[in-house]
Subunit: 345 residues, 2 copies
């Protein structure tokens, strides 16, 4: 929350506030005909398919403001929606943001949040075309809708994986989850003793992965440049296991993933050791990596093997073989979706 | 909230719940290529402009579950978004719904809500193409995004009103606000004495207008059939005064509205009398009517005068004349936007 000057939201009112937060927004995409300021935004996509994704994020469930600066929260809220568009092999073009805020938030807080959203949008050439700012009785609620495009024959669904396809993943996994664990630990320590400052030295990468995820536009562009259209693709928000099982279930296939091939950063490994957690479990079930998981035909093996920051981790099988992890010692363990489930007891 | 059988949401989990609520949804529009079930919905609009509107509705701010059945809430949440698309002179095509629910809600509650959304969508040929169901620490949060289309030269903005245009409004005003007042009164009575049952006899129209608003597709179709393209249009969600001032401010004009011409239903008048409220104030500033307010060139006067359920209430002036109400006794009163403002102190 903002420290220093504090301007109450009531001084501007609803329309004044929206105007204040959006006045410097200038659309950059020719597809954006009209943005903020009317009953609806007006867009035009004559030759492409339109992709629409939406997210509702609630304080206390999806984020904790004790360790999430509002600018980071705005950045991340936008980024995870851009990631959904990339996961369809599309390019995000527009975004709408609605916020419900309680009285403990001031205008400077919302400016911070919007600055984070704007930064994410600038990096990905996305226009903010609408939204709403209203009040909430208790916590902060964030609703984001992202609109993207893809050529008609380029959209990639979850349901196109085929037996013998190879499974690829971008970046590395488990770091965001470790960042979250670290934040939770330091929060507990910090709340216990006021004079203790959190110590994050040598763990910056974990924090960055948790607080400032990056949607993988570069991978979508690299795939296009290499002439590869994945047979199935998803972004990893709930954990590799959970997403793999979605792809296999929707494609009616099984899969084999090699434990030793799952990409894991050094800091993630150190942290798992420190927390006495199983590293592979963290990488398989830790969420919020926002890396891309995709399958390509076996014939594309050489091409994807050469791609920067992409790793082949396994292959698709017939459905009757089920989904399994091949451990370092050669055993097969059935994959379970233990990913994050906000509706669990 | 649901009475009788109660199935806890945790028995299904996030993906099971979404599947359960959306399994019977079949897209009816050819523009909907892929709906619920992937990272994003896939739509196609080769020859039209795309309209996007979004709303975030919070329990305790935008609705009170004490007197709002969940099915009505679902219906209304969808309807107010369809209304925004009609207000652009467009036709709604797709909708996404996200809900954040606390543990006091059961699966039957969400079924009720979805049934309301589905009913509204069926009536307007709109496809449910996505959404999310997640948890909330406290109340219910509803996020809806609606996507519509309009021919390129048919989109109507707020900023096109011109001096001498005439101002029209559909239906009647103030009834939804009176319905809300009535509900609030009965809630207070009801909470005081457990044995008192609310008495709504003769006031059904007010309740219906508040609980079950109807988006005016018929007016958009009638305008098209009559060959009229409004110069400016909005739907009345925050009150006639407030919306008129938006049109005048964005069009750089003034306006004159005749008090005696504002359409008001008999039940609204009776109720205002009972509450000892000024009837015109209710009609000017009461929100949630979801009627259409639009301006047309003077040359279209005869055509709009013949339109069913449309009334001419005034005219647009040069900006220096300001926005004013001409009272029954011929005085001019400056219009003030006293409409609903969720961010007011």
């Amino acid at each position: 929350m903002h420290e220093g000057n504090r301007t109450e939201i009531s001084t501007l009112g609803e329309f004044g506030l929206i105007k204040h937060l959006t006045q410097d927004i200038k659309p950059v995409n020719p597809e954006t005909k009209y943005g903020v300021g009317d009953d609806a935004a007006v867009l035009e996509f004559p030759n492409q398919q339109v992709l629409v994704t939406t997210d509702l994020l609630m304080e206390g469930v999806h984020f904790d403001l004790v360790y999430t600066p509002l600018k980071h929260l705005g950045y991340k809220s936008a980024m995870v929606n851009l990631s959904d568009i990339y996961a369809m092999n599309g390019i995000p073009k527009q975004i709408t943001i609605s916020l419900a805020v309680s009285k403990r938030f001031c205008i400077e807080d919302l400016e911070d949040f919007y600055n984070g959203v704007k930064l994410a949008c600038q990096l990905h050439n996305v226009d903010i075309v609408g939204g709403d700012t209203t009040s909430s009785v208790t916590g902060l609620a964030i609703s984001i809708t992202c609109i993207g495009v893809a050529d008609k024959d380029k959209v990639v669904y979850r349901n196109g994986a085929k037996d013998t396809d190879i499974i690829c993943v971008s970046g590395d996994l488990g770091a965001a989850y470790m960042g979250l664990q670290l934040m939770e630990r330091e929060k507990a320590v910090f709340q216990g003793e006021k004079e203790v400052q959190p110590d994050f030295a040598g763990k910056e990468y974990l924090l960055e992965r948790f607080l400032k995820p990056e949607a993988r536009r570069d991978i979508v562009e690299a795939l296009a440049a290499a002439g590869i259209k994945p047979t199935a693709m998803m972004d990893i928000s709930d954990g590799l296991s959970s997403e793999l099982m979605h792809i296999c279930s929707q494609s009616n296939t099984g899969c084999r993933v090699y434990e030793e091939r799952i990409p894991i950063d050094y800091q993630t490994a150190v942290m798992a050791e420190e927390f006495n957690m199983n590293l592979s479990t963290c990488a398989l079930n830790g969420g919020e990596d926002y890396e891309l998981l995709f399958t390509v035909p076996l014939t594309a093996h050489d091409k994807v093997s050469e791609m920067k920051d992409v790793k082949v981790i396994g292959y698709i099988t017939k459905p009757e073989l089920g989904c399994a992890l091949i451990t370092r010692d050669g055993n097969e363990l059935e994959l379970k979706a233990q990913g994050w489930n906000p509706l669990k007891e």
